[in-house]
Amino acid sequence: MYVAVKGGEAAIDAAHAQLADLRRGDRSVAALSLDQIRDQMALAVARVMAEGSLYDPDLAALALKQAWGDVAEAIFLVRAYRTTLPRLAATRPLDTARMVVRRRISATFKDLPGGQVLGPTFDYTHRLLDFALAAEDEPLAEPPPPAEAPLDPDMPRVTDILGADGLIEPESDPDADNPDAPVPDLTREPLTFPAGRAMRLQVLARGDEGFLLSLGYSSQRGHGGTHPFAGEIRMGEVEVEIIPEDLGFPVTIGTVTATECQMINQFQGSKTKPPQFTRGYGLVFGFNERKAMAMSLVDRALRAPDLGEPVVAPAQDEEFVLSHADVVEASGFVQHLKLPHYVDFQAELDSVRRMRRAAETGEGADS
């Protein structure tokens, strides 16, 4: 017998109740605390903060818990919350040269002022499942051995070292003609094209990690290649400063963990202008080298038109990259196909039926 589909609020309420029940799972297993998520799932928290573009580890942990561990859903929750927050001040640019470094490596110089600092990294772990972690009472890990010497507080950026010799292009002001112009704000202005580098970097900084990773990878495989060297990757804590209007001087309001990547790319020059290396830049909240590196590859690829290079690959195409980088937009639009399309489908169905009827009755297309 035919039973009509029930829509309505009751069905939606029931769906929410089922979701909440499944999210909590087996009640005999202890519920996760936000502390646990924040400290033990710190990289997931970092990704939610980066793409949610809100630095708040506790809120990111809450979002992950509420989203049943779905990172994209957690990012969406954080974004929707962020947009309701008042805008109190704009910070000064982060000075990553003054970062309290936990990890700092360069692929371009064997040694350099401040040295290489391996720090916490998966890089040289052998990817073998550690079944010791599966034990109920996970043994406390040995604390790391103390450093032989304190880190050198002076760690100049590799690009600054090259820049002193003029070997790399200077970092240009995004609005060189008008240095006092406010930096555009992606969350307060519509994205239009050409977007300019300041806007581009904002989109990339909160862009979907998987999308940027694939684009960066495609540029390495020759689709808009830029011959990159990882000049420097550094991760650590960096101070955030604002200048309150009534004080007129900078005040530190806290620190954030950030990962910065400076890619050194293929040189450019001419008879009149000696060759210089070019830059690609990546900066993300939290510890996320993969994202910072991918971002710097894509940033450099997107500079192709500014550097007089032909735009031939997706990674170089500003409109393509920026229009499709946002996980909240992409996820919403892909999934909106779940919504009813009865009316449009009926329209198509009607069209196809008419055309098929016309074909059957021999009424040719050549009308």
């Binding site: 309505g8 994205l191 229009s323 009865y342 297309a365 009308s367």
Partner: protein, 311 residues
């Protein structure tokens, strides 16, 4: 009127954002059919699910408004229910399913069958605001084409349909020329609804949240569907009437009732259909088991829409 959730601003958006959106709406009204970029906000509902329409509604709604939300013409589709619930919560305004009672109607994919009047505003949810998008993917180029009214490519598409299929195959989101100047996407309404846009007495606002565009058709503006002299624009028609209410002038949805070819054709506009049935009209299948089940569901939903359903 019920009290709105005091934890959130009336209409959810902060006043600064509402002003920004109202400015965009005013500009859109001043330049009929022109897509105005606006700094769309992230809403607590996903992109592609009506965030553009929701932001427009949230910016113009007042405490005395009466809101109707439809999806596919019906008040009972889950997303319409969800959006209606959102506005009830963040504004406390009265909601209705009766087209004639509403001052604001937010819609996805339909224009109601009951003619709207000058005191009503129709707000469309728009997924892809750019009518030129599928001939030219690049925003920088499409904006230039609009600026120069360089629209030859639209007819290339229509020509191609006729040459391949014998007719213009576009069945919904059928492009229109607004005020003789801008080619506009009417959103994915069936072309059946296009004539209702022309010289309409009511204001039509279009919001595309993900693409961050707002556009408008002010009252009594010319809206012409693109066509050829020898292949004039035509709307869908059925050689049957609504199985429930017998209407012969409404857009019909096809409902599959069994796996043996059983079909019902019913009004996609649930309020129009219910109104006709209440007035005593009866369609050919109104008395059948399937027809009765369908009409029972639609009635149940209308009680919810009036706020009598589950809280």
């Amino acid at each position: 009127m019920t009290q709105h959730d005091s934890g959130v601003t009336f209409g959810y958006l902060d006043e600064q954002t509402k002003r920004m959106i109202r400015r965009a709406v005013l500009k859109a009204v001043a330049i009929p059919g022109y897509q105005v970029p606006f700094a769309g906000r992230e809403m607590p509902l996903p992109y592609g699910w009506g965030t553009g329409g929701i932001q427009v509604t949230a910016s113009i709604i007042g405490p005395d408004d009466v809101l109707k939300v439809i999806d596919q013409g019906a008040d009972d589709t889950t997303n319409a229910v969800s959006i209606r619930r959102f506005f009830r919560r963040v504004t406390g305004v009265r909601t209705t399913e009766h087209t004639t009672e509403a001052t604001l109607i937010q819609t996805r994919h339909r224009i109601p069958e009951t003619p709207l009047g000058p005191d009503q505003i129709l707000i469309y949810q728009v997924p892809i605001p750019e009518p030129l998008r599928f001939m030219e993917a690049r925003e920088t180029e499409t904006r230039r084409m609009h600026a120069l009214a360089d629209y030859g490519v639209m007819h290339v598409k229509l020509y191609e349909d006729i040459s391949q299929y014998g007719r213009i195959a576009k069945a919904y989101d059928y492009p229109v020329m607004v005020n003789g100047r801008y080619v506009m996407a009417p959103s994915p309404i069936p072309k059946f609804d296009n004539p209702k846009m022309h010289d309409a007495p009511f204001l039509q606002l279009f919001g595309a949240g993900r693409e961050k565009r707002i556009y408008a058709v002010p009252p009594h503006t010319s809206v012409v569907s693109l066509d050829f002299e020898d292949h004039p624009f035509e709307v869908q028609s059925w050689d049957r009437v609504c199985d429930l209410c017998g209407a012969d002038d409404s857009y019909l949805d096809e409902v599959v009732t069994d796996d043996a070819g059983g079909r019902l054709f019913v009004c996609s506009d649930s309020d129009y259909c219910a109104g006709r049935r209440a007035a005593g009209h009866e369609g050919p299948a109104a008395a059948s088991a399937a027809g009765a089940a369908l009409s029972e569901t639609m009635t149940a939903v209308s009680r919810e829409a009036d706020g009598e359903g589950t809280p």
